[in-house]
Symmetry: C2
């Protein structure tokens, strides 16, 4: 089989460039074809033209290959919170950030669905996804604290924001759901406010 090499690098060395990208693509393909558990790291490496050992040099474990892009999303959200005007309430700064984050999803809905299906089909992958979301919440709480919001308000706003994100993402990705990210976020946030107001 042939491997599509993304981001061909002119300063190529002894090996084919973009080892990490090849590993990622091979893993996504195999996880999709036969499932996460049924795929061995040796198989991923082979399809990428590398060795198992090299896989573990690029990704901490077999799951991480699906999540390492998360770091960029986190940065995006944190910056969005930091950039919100001072007058904006914590929960609304979070909401604004979530809307901005949609830029990373909007237009790649199908890709998101595939990845989501792989993750949803496996408990270990769901665990990893959860801890990434908690890390995100933690980073958002930090960003709020930099805006002068004290705990536990900062933590609560961040955690609640992630809860909204989860609910909104599920809705957005669902077959029958709304496909406009911003709108889904705004609706979910409105529901949140209704619920916590005791209605």
């Amino acid at each position: 089989m042939s491997v599509t090499v993304i981001n061909y690098d002119l300063s190529m060395g002894r090996w084919e460039p973009n080892a990490r990208g090849r590993l990622e693509q091979a893993a996504l393909e195999l996880y999709g074809e036969r499932g996460f558990e049924q795929t061995t790291v040796a198989e991923i490496a082979k399809r990428a033209g590398l060795t198992e050992r090299t896989f573990f040099r690029h990704f901490a474990d077999k799951r991480e290959v699906l999540f390492w892009g998360q770091g960029a999303l986190q940065e995006l959200l944190v910056h969005a919170v930091a950039d919100a005007p001072d007058s904006v309430a914590p929960i609304d700064a979070i909401a604004a950030a979530l809307e901005v984050a949609g830029a990373r999803f909007q237009g790649r809905r199908e890709h998101s669905q595939q990845r989501h299906a792989i993750i949803a089909a496996n408990a270990e992958l769901r665990e990893r996804e959860l801890i990434k979301l908690v890390s995100l919440a933690s980073a958002l709480a930090g960003a709020l604290r930099l805006r002068g919001i004290a705990d536990p308000a900062a933590s609560l706003a961040a955690e609640v924001g992630i809860a909204v994100f989860r609910v909104a993402f599920d809705r957005w990705i669902g077959e029958t759901g709304q496909t406009d990210w911003s709108q889904v976020i705004r609706e979910s946030m409105d529901e949140l406010k209704a619920v916590t107001a005791g209605r």
Copy 2:
């Protein structure tokens, strides 16, 4: 070393009774003594007077020994939500359930702290804890739906409830914090309402 046998069973058979309990205790001890990663399942089994294979017959994996009691907590919370009067708003039914759940912690604060320390010290264990909490949220959402609450309100109330639980638990278990569970829950819930009201 000797092993304390809890719940001695008069109908003992060929082996020492309460294999599961012995495994659990041995695991807790070893995880505490030398850490989760530094403990092998073979060591746990040996201390419990059993074999590695038997450990995996009682617990799905090395982590699960710390979490299998969670099922009872989930039942307790679900029942509490179900038993709340019809007139109570979703979020308040959740809050009431969280207060009730304190009965499982109150009076065992030290034990909770030990277990919490073990979990906090290891990323894999934190992952497992998170997925258990999500399962809890899911069960609570189901209980709310049985009360006639539609989604996404049910899911949101449940997820938010879990966020409050997390924040409250951290506060309750902290050295300087309040030690009365009910009070911590009520305070945290009040904070939540303030935050989501946009303050």
